[in-house]
């Protein structure tokens, strides 16, 4: 009973409670003639309460479980030693994981089941009733608390001396500002809006295979095939992953008659070979799935679907914009090269994307 029966209430005692007050029941319907609570039903004794033999049996089961736990924990230690990891042998890892884990798990379970069994069979099952008290502090306590605040206010002059108070508020606000500004250098000094608009692609840059970096001969790109492509200079780049996250390209060869290029882009392809950014215009996953029959590109993350024959226009899924096209041609030896960088930012949309 969390009653304070033998405690003399002291000023500032935070645990003092009061009986619930009469408060509004809102729109609740209060029955005029409520049913009587019939009180607790009769308590049923368990078999271990009645039969000392059963009680003894239960006690034995509990201690057996605890002893079993000791054994399992020791077995776990033994398994740690008996199942070492042999480098290169994944089977040894499986055995180590399995037997070490089983030993620990059974050791834990035996403790847990033993303790619960103990509480359910041997410890008293009879439920006890405890009275609740209103959560609200008693009027006396609340009056004391209010007095504390009043005294604090009076002695400090917090309410009266407005200049001190308001300048303190100002100072407390201002002191946060350096804490915000200091995070500026989480990122480099360059404006992200500049770097997001440029990739490694430029005039004459060879298209090479991902990840080997070998150049691609236009003649090797057969009708219906698709290549995962990176710029030739990528593998020497210092920021390899950052550049790859913008420059990754898919090259596909279609029947030139299937392509419906918009005006001004007729020369961006070579003999039906087209190159499109592989970075989804939705949230940037690699658009890695090419359906050869339908000429659709599918993003495996959110299923945006792009029609390669129609300038990679979005035909399904949450993306909005077509995949940017990389203008390509061939060099004197017949290897695929870029005509220029992309003409628009690749990847996910962002606020300033359509600014010049």
């Amino acid at each position: 009973m969390a009653d304070h029966d033998d405690e003399t209430p002291q000023a500032g005692s935070a645990v003092e409670k009061s009986e619930p007050l009469k408060v509004s029941a809102g729109t609740a319907v209060i029955p005029t003639d409520p049913f009587e609570n019939p009180g607790e039903p009769a308590h049923h004794l368990r078999v271990t309460d009645i039969d000392p033999v059963e009680e003894k049996k239960a006690a034995r089961q509990v201690s057996t479980l605890f002893f079993a736990s000791i054994v399992f924990s020791c077995l776990a230690v033994a398994a740690y030693i008996a199942f070492p990891i042999t480098p290169g042998d994944t089977g040894s890892i499986r055995l180590n994981n399995l037997f070490l884990g089983l030993g620990i798990a059974l050791g834990l379970l035996a403790i847990g089941i033993g303790a619960v069994h103990w509480s359910k069979t041997i410890m008293p099952a009879r439920e006890i009733t405890e009275m609740r008290h209103g959560t609200r502090g008693s009027d006396a306590t609340r009056a004391k608390a209010a007095e504390v605040f009043e005294l604090g206010n009076k002695e400090s002059g917090f309410g009266r001396r407005s200049l001190i108070r308001n300048s303190l508020f100002g100072a407390l606000f201002a002191f946060i500002l350096p804490g915000v500004v200091i995070f500026r250098d989480l990122g480099p000094k360059v404006d992200p809006n500049v770097v997001l608009r440029h990739t490694l692609w430029k005039k004459g840059m060879h298209l090479t295979l991902d990840p080997s970096g070998t150049r691609i001969k236009a003649a090797d790109v057969t009708l219906g095939s698709a290549f995962h492509v990176i710029p030739e200079s990528l593998l020497e780049s210092e920021d390899l992953l950052e550049e790859k996250a913008k420059a990754a390209v898919l090259v596909m060869r279609l029947n030139p008659d299937d392509l419906n290029e918009p005006e001004g882009r007729e020369n961006w392809q070579y003999n039906g070979i087209v190159a499109y950014s592989k970075i989804c215009t939705h949230v940037g996953c690699p658009v890695a799935l090419y359906e050869q029959q339908t000429h659709h590109l599918l993003c495996p993350c959110h299923q945006s679907t792009f029609d390669v024959t129609d300038n990679c226009k979005v035909i399904f899924g949450p993306a909005s914009r077509p995949l940017p096209q990389l203008p390509i041609t061939v060099d004197a030896e017949g290897y695929l090269v870029a005509q220029s960088d992309f003409h628009e930012p690749v990847g996910p949309s962002f606020w300033e994307r359509d600014r010049a």
């Binding site: 809102g26 609740a28 798990a105 403790i111 405890e130 990122g187 939705h282 890695a288 949450p318 962002f350």
Partner: protein, 562 residues
Amino acid sequence: MITTTTTTESQPTSYAEQGNAPVRPAKGMKFMGAAANYVDERTSISGLVKEVGRKIFPDHWSFMLGEVALYSFVVILLSGTFLTFFFQPSMAEVTYNGSYVPLKGIDMSAAMQSALNISFDIRGGLLFRQIHHWAALLFIAAIGLHMLRIYFTGAFRKPREINWFIGFVLFILALAEGFTGYSLPDDLLSGNGLRIIDGMVKGIPVIGVWISYLLFGGEFPGTAVVSRLYSLHIMLLPALLIAMLGAHLLLLIINKHTQFAGPGKTNNNVVGVPVMPVFAAKAGGFFFIVFGVIVLIASLFTINPIWNYGPYDPSPVSAGTQPDWYIGFADGALRLAPPHWEVVWGGYTVSFNILVPIVVLMGLLATVAFYPFIEGWVTGDKREHHILDRPRNAPTRTAIGAALMTLYAALWAAASSDLMATHFKLSLNQVIHVMQFLTVIGPFIAFWITKRVCLALQKKDREIVLHGHESGRIVRLPGGEYIEVHEPLTDYERWNLVSYNEYEPLMVRPNARGVVTPIERIRASVSGFFFEDRISPVTKAEIEAAHHDSHAEIDGGPGGKH
């Protein structure tokens, strides 16, 4: 039992009187007594033991869901600490040369390499990685179920609204812990998850690009994000979690546990087992059971096999990429936006295909976070509620819960749209369209069905109270009429069915200054939405009427108010 249910007749003078047997000094008591004295003289801890040592905890299976969450969190702390001894939160490029042959010679980050080393070179390392991951999944699942239990039984009502909100914050922190931890190994799958976060952040108007830039320390993926997420994952978020958890448990103790309605249980008492020894043994034992089950799963089932995914590379991705299940509802929301929702306004790009899903998610979460305050405002009920509702007895609340669950489930299922399509040989596009339909219309259908089911169950309860149980015994009356004999309920059975709260719709009335404020008008219409259709609990008078007219046709009995 000394105290009765409605009045306190006498105060017990010692705890021994409450239990069955008097406390006898046991063996070893002398040392324990000396130790206790030593500690108490320096800490005054006897007051705390007296306060909480025999605190009563009601018993019901659904009360263990929060315990599962708590215990799996302890397991997470233990296993996570072990992992920090080996994990290197660095994105410095290294060439893997460890025990796992298929990845030998491959460039990866130090983080990925150390995660592989934990799995393949340290005895028990893989086990602890899997314990950590499985425990995290169980943690979030248990929190979710715990929240549903609290919601559907109305345990969030006064005085527990603040504790509900703290619990909600814990849920969000758990999700954040999950996501930051998931991203640490820097494998292909988690890298794609970060890529999606990057894309979402960039879609935020005005500041999106800058936030992404600062988060990743430059362009995605950069070389900073793993170590930054690590700081959050092992320091800031756990510190917040533990602080919030402390507040959550402290309020639980201050408010005392709720209990289901039942004979002997009132709004002014707690009926259950005392902390010492029964609850301590049960709960302590249950901790070991939860721990044991997690370790058992971790030793038998692989989770997050990063060695199959390989290191992160922005170009490849595997088909059927899935986030961990608890992030599914966010990923699914992104999938459901129809094409071409992006617009350019005044030269600036506004990505509604990202913003609308974010707003829907925020709306869902905000409704969950603030529901107790909304319901409290609608009912205007300022009383404390310690007796739990059966979900059927709060039909509108239950129906709203079902609607929100349906929304969550539709978003969550949408995150597996591609797998559903491939596994069940369906068209991917049709699966998405069905999910879009379920997301928009599903919650309304769920609301309507649930509310009708609740009202029907309440009607059934009324019928049982008024006419008793069907006995299956058919008798023929002298007049030739056949009736089924109904057996009357015991007082205990009846109490369970009649003791629940009922609310009426709010009647708009002018306030003290004779004005009907617009807020009050809104409150009245929301109140009407909540309580217009309702079934009142049976009154004594109705039972008496039913007795006098025991031949009354069952369905024609006094029904609910409509």
